[in-house]
Symmetry: C2
Subunit: 335 residues, 2 copies
């Protein structure tokens, strides 16, 4: 924390604005008040949570008017460069772009606000962009919930393109998939080998696969990778929304292919809005998060009792050792 | 229910044997007592459940000594013929084979005990085999739990090969995957098209893919399908247990390829036992079912309150309509 401007520090200690001030600020597109509201969402303090919920309640009628894009890819695939170049391009078209990161593990490498802003320098300073890293030091469930609520506030603040980013190797992709409309997987040139780092199941989630770094010496390898995936994608059964996953090459460095990625996202949006799956998917996602949140609260109530937690660990040990059936074990925890 | 023998009917009304009689019967390999114990597992009566748990407790130390094989494939792929021919072949080798069906929807087509036994006539009458269809008229969670407990009893009864069968189009494959050691997917000849009927995610679960009906006019198509899948399987990242999914053709009708399927299962078992993943996987599965069962019991406690159920439906409607945030909604259900 060395070198922090004492004035900034003092400002951070100012009392937070009222619910009304926050809501009005967000609805007028004020990024500072948007940030303060998201900080409330991320806070563990009960009074902050209550205030955050009041802000969300007021913003909810103004949320939803966006396309939510999930982007994943292993470290080294050029994700930050892609999002920056892609985001700036969309801003040029008149859009407002919010970027939310969801992976808790990313905290270890570049999770500080400074780190995240540094890696998307040009985008982060643009007035039509808003970049927010993952809340630090939290379990995935919590991060996912907070990110989902942050999406709503960003939409209420007029951001019509929401990018939710993960690193593609953790537990967070299913969560991202459950809060976005379209899922973009970035891969590196090469045929098959680069999948070593990708978590199982992710390729199948992808609506669009972009082989990045299709420039210079990699151009040929990228083309080969594209052909390989194009063939292999036939392995997957059709998606319930009738979208056929598309694959292309791009270069975040040169900008080649990024226009095509955007066109595919527009095509996806058109198809799924026409056949209504865009809307039913959002409804199902909302109900999914309702059920998840109910589960989470039930378990929290249960495991917040220290004696239960202790008993659970002992039961878990016995079940893993085959000394106790899982269902008998569950009865011992929840009579 | 016409034509039922009144003597059978009278016998069914006899009081069930004691826990001790059931346990002794199961441990001596008595299939009638095994069936009666599984019927207790499937019963909704509290006293039956209690008795079933006591039986399971006593059988647990004798369970686990088997290979649990999940088999899935769409209707028409020849699953029954495959299981019958395959099962008889294993019995010839000196094994004892239990077949459990898990898919609740299978009730609609062939779910009666008579139906299930008819479709595997030769296997079902063999004294080294035991065939048990899905419990009827139940939600998946319940069926899965009951099937998992039935596996333990079958193992305690000396069945060293447990086949758990699903139809590959429902919600049950993940459940089966979470209670078996090795997962076999049966496909029909053709390249890609036959996947239309297969649920997304199933191909990725498969440890072994067998293209069945590779006989007569289909032989060539089956070979083409095998080549296609062999290529396409590279799309999937490696499994954490280091097993590389294998693909082959077979004919349940002629028996061709069934020996190779068994050899692959033995290879799988050897590899995963050598690298310990066989055992850690079973431990993880047990803990998974413990957590699932805790979740289920918590939710049952909650939703068994009629007022909560009513409130949930209203909250769910509002959340789906975007009028209420999922997390606020969850708070309203679980304060």
């Amino acid at each position: 924390m060395h070198g922090i401007n004492p004035h900034l520090s003092a400002r951070a200690r100012k009392p937070t604005p009222s619910v009304e001030e926050l809501v009005n600020g967000i609805l007028s597109g004020n990024r500072v008040l948007l940030s303060q509201a998201i900080t409330l969402i991320e806070s563990h303090r009960a009074d902050h949570q209550e205030k955050a919920q009041a802000v969300i309640d007021s913003c909810l009628p103004h949320a939803g008017n966006s396309i939510r894009i999930g982007i994943t890819g292993t470290p080294g695939v050029g994700k930050s460069t892609f999002i920056e170049t892609f985001g700036l391009r969309l801003i040029e078209k008149g859009h407002r772009v919010a970027v939310l990161a969801i992976d808790p593990s990313s905290q270890m490498t570049h999770g500080s606000i400074l780190g995240d802003k540094t890696r998307m320098m040009r985008l982060s300073v643009h007035e039509s962009a808003y970049i927010r890293p993952s809340p630090a030091g939290d379990a995935l469930g919590g991060v996912a919930r907070k990110t989902r609520e942050a999406i709503m506030l960003c939409e209420a603040a007029g951001f019509d393109i929401i990018i939710v980013e993960t690193v593609g190797v953790g537990q967070s992709e299913t969560a991202v998939h459950s809060m976005t409309d379209v899922f973009l997987l970035l891969l590196m040139p090469g045929a098959g080998d680069e999948l070593q780092g990708i978590k199982r199941g992710i390729v199948e989630m992808a609506d669009i696969i972009a082989v990045n770094k299709a420039d210079g010496d990699n151009a040929l390898a990228a083309k080969r990778a594209k052909a390989f995936y194009a063939n292999a994608l036939h392995l997957f059964p059709p998606k319930p929304n009738y979208w056929i996953p598309q694959i292309l090459t791009c270069s975040a460095l040169s900008g080649d292919g990024l226009e095509e990625v955007w066109q595919l996202i527009l095509n996806f949006q058109e198809l799924t809005k026409n056949n209504q799956s865009f809307y039913t998917n959002r409804q199902e996602q909302a109900v999914f998060w309702l059920r998840e949140a109910i589960d989470e609260r039930l378990k929290k109530h249960l495991f917040d009792t220290p004696s239960v937690k202790e008993r659970f660990l002992e039961v878990q040990r016995q079940v893993a050792a085959g000394e106790l059936s899982p269902f008998k074990g569950a009865q011992m925890i929840v009579p």
